[in-house]
């Protein structure tokens, strides 16, 4: 059992599960971590049987910052890679009037990410190896009226990961920022997403795997999103303000 474990935080998400399968298929053992352990146990067994690897399910609460150090120290084998996949979208309109809701988006997407990844980074830095994949969002590339609370928390995450990238590259630790664009998942289940712009969780996980192998810094899963975001970022403000994006 040499260091072949992947730590997946927020393992309940469809992207997380698809990525777990991808790494298991390539011979890695997996820690699936989330608050909802019961559902994950089924998934863990599924991955174990399909790919003949070890899968452990571990309770992890992203919002319980105090617990993060102990959580990481208690892992029986330290991972060679970490996928940060938890996130909260929520209802922007409700968040505008109820600060508690807005706060939980920021806490989940940004604050808890910083909390756990600092713990992970220390270990990786010391070991001088490892990789970190953070699922951020194209929504963080420019603030828009329809989802700026979610968007700004992801912008924070992206900038944080960028900094981590800068710091850790000196220790041979790679950080990959993923901006998936539309993905057909539970989170977007009731949205009517255009097919051409929408990736399947499988495509995201393949892109992540390839991105790590090739040591990419930022990936947009469907490359069309890169161009869309370049466009959106460069719309002059006086025009941008008139749009309803």
């Amino acid at each position: 059992m040499n260091n072949n474990w992947i730590l997946i935080l927020g393992a309940g998400s469809d992207i997380a599960i698809a990525t777990a399968h991808k790494y298991a298929q390539n011979g890695c053992s997996i820690y699936l971590c989330s608050r909802n352990i019961k559902e994950l146990k089924k998934e863990a067994r599924n991955i174990e049987i399909r790919h003949e690897v070890n899968v452990d399910v571990i309770y992890f609460d992203a919002l319980d910052y105090e617990s993060h150090k102990e959580f990481y120290n208690d892992l029986p084998v330290k991972p060679k890679g970490v996928l940060l996949a938890f996130g909260l979208l929520g209802d922007q309109e409700a968040q505008q009037s109820q600060f508690e809701l807005a706060k939980s988006v920021m806490d989940t997407n940004y604050v808890s990410a910083v909390s756990i990844l600092e713990v992970v980074s220390q270990d990786f830095e010391k070991r001088k190896s490892g990789f970190i994949v953070g699922i951020s969002s194209v929504a963080g590339d420019r603030g828009r009226s329809s989802n700026y609370i979610y968007g700004s928390s992801k912008a924070g995450l992206s900038t944080y990961l960028e900094g981590l990238q800068h710091r850790l590259c000196k220790s041979n630790v790679h950080v990959l920022i993923v901006k998936p664009g539309f993905v057909a998942t539970k989170m977007t289940a009731d949205m009517n997403l255009p097919d051409l712009l929408t990736a399947k969780p499988d495509e995201v996980s393949s892109a992540i795997y390839k991105g790590v192998e090739k040591k990419k810094n930022v990936i947009y899963v469907k490359s069309v999103w890169f161009f869309i975001m370049v466009l959106i970022k460069n719309i002059p403000k006086f025009i941008f303000k008139k749009t309803s994006l």
Binding site: R45, L89, G90, D91, M191
Partner: protein, 447 residues
């Protein structure tokens, strides 16, 4: 439209253009994707009547209803015993996934239909059979237990021992007893992914029947029959039998399928092109008896190597007509039907003849001891009247029509073929299934 953010609890229901594999009928229907058991339990009281849909590989209208509930996302393997080969999995898993995972470990399905692109749930609902029916029966033979959600949202495990009536009604019950959530069944151990195939070329229907009898001990057998050939050569066939090899080669991976990229213009498929194809296919085989060593994909699933092969029948789709006649009456009945088909010139490339074994107890399972013939007909003028004439011959010889292939049979023809039909209907009524689980087919046939 950018990131519309209202994660309401409304369940994903979207209008979709759906059909069975035959592409007829094709309708715009509501489709709900089930996320998990809890999700289904929550919505089952509030959505109207519906039918569960797997991979949409039944040919006709079995998996169509004004609301279709898809269970294809739930495909987890929950347990596997590598000593006994017993597997427990969610019903949305495809047989192809099971084959890809377990053939390299020396396990194969006890019973598989002619395509591996069906879900386990679909295989149970149609109680599918394969080339080894005469030896190993239907898919239900390998089943140990089914986990089913009933119309009131309660969950029941049923088997040959427990809730037997529910089990008999569910296997072959076309999804009309509940939503199949999970299944436990056993795989069979194999030593190789290769099949030793024997091809027997016959000159007419008599010889074909004799060959089936002569090779009755073969584990797998099926015949391709030239349904357009007349007179002395009527019923000429290539009977293919097979046994798993024991050469130890388990290095299986499924090949990428080539694709039919668009619907062929339906004119391409006509009397002459089919006749030419059939003649070439027949003459290409060696005279008498020959032996081949082939991979399991090409033996069991020849058509799966062509993605969307149903498109060769054009955009209007096709009907697969499959019936079975009791053994005693098979020769006479089949002769009559083949004469009718070759006279009309409504032939098909894919005419498959097979000798079946004993029938099981399930209320609506198709197989009985006798010969079954399956034919594809593209939708065209006069087809439905013609099929009605075939129905009458099938009835005359006490045969039955296969529901998993059907999109058009009439109620009276259908029910004469299935002696347990009233038990099935009574059971559905008494369990409140009739109001909850309905397909276009069940409504047409008053199931």
């Amino acid at each position: 439209m950018w990131f519309p953010i209202s994660l309401s609890l409304v369940d994903l229901m979207s209008k979709s253009r759906l059909s069975g594999w035959g592409g007829y009928p094709k309708l715009i229907l509501d489709l709900i994707n089930i996320r998990n058991e809890k999700h289904l339990k929550k919505i089952i009281p509030s959505i109207g009547n519906f039918i569960t849909r797997g991979n949409g590989r039944s040919y006709g209208d079995s998996s169509l209803s004004s609301i279709c509930v898809s269970n294809i996302q739930n495909n987890k393997i929950l347990e596997f015993d590598n000593k006994t080969g017993v597997i427990r999995c969610e019903s949305g898993i495809l047989l192809s996934e099971i084959i890809e995972i377990f053939v390299p470990r020396g396990w194969f399905l006890k019973v598989t239909p002619g395509t591996k692109l069906v879900t386990v749930g679909g295989a149970i609902a149609s109680d599918v059979h394969g080339k080894n029916h005469h030896k190993d029966g239907c898919f239900s033979t390998s089943l140990i237990q089914i986990r089913l959600m009933l119309s009131d949202g309660s969950i029941v495990n049923c088997s040959q021992q427990k809730h037997k009536e529910l089990f008999l009604a569910t296997c072959g019950g076309m999804g009309l007893t509940g939503v199949i959530l999970e299944a436990t069944f056993s795989l069979k151990s194999i030593l190789s992914q290769n099949i030793m195939q024997t091809t027997i070329k016959t000159k007419n229907l008599h010889q074909t029947f004799d060959a089936f009898e002569k090779y009755a001990d073969a584990t797998y057998s099926v015949a391709w029959i030239d349904c357009l050939s007349k007179g002395d050569t009527m019923g000429r066939s290539l009977l293919m039998t097979g046994e798993f090899s024991d050469d130890g080669d388990l290095d299986y991976s499924s090949k990428k399928a080539v694709s039919v990229p668009f619907n062929f213009p339906s004119i391409m498929l006509n009397y002459f092109s089919v006749k030419l194809f059939n003649a070439l296919y027949y003459f290409k085989a060696k005279q008498g008896v020959s032996h081949q060593n082939v991979g399991l994909d090409s033996f069991f699933f020849p058509l799966d190597s062509i993605d969307s092969w149903n498109r060769i029948y054009g955009r209007n789709g096709f009907v697969q007509y499959q019936f079975i006649l009791p053994k005693k009456e098979s020769l006479e009945g089949l002769t009559k039907i083949l004469e009718k088909i070759s006279d009309m010139g409504l032939g098909s490339f894919l005419a498959v003849l097979k000798l079946y074994g004993k029938e099981n107890e399930n209320y609506l399972s198709f197989p009985m001891e006798g010969y079954s013939l399956a034919l594809d007909f593209k939708i065209q003028k006069g087809l439905f009247d013609f099929l009605k004439e075939l129905d009458q011959i099938v009835l005359e010889y006490n045969g039955r029509i296969y529901l998993a292939k059907d999109s058009r049979v009439g109620k009276s023809v259908f029910e004469k073929g299935y002696p347990n039909i009233e038990r099935f209907r009574e059971f559905r009524k008494s369990q409140g299934m009739k109001e909850k689980f309905t397909s276009l087919q069940s409504e047409r046939l008053g199931l």
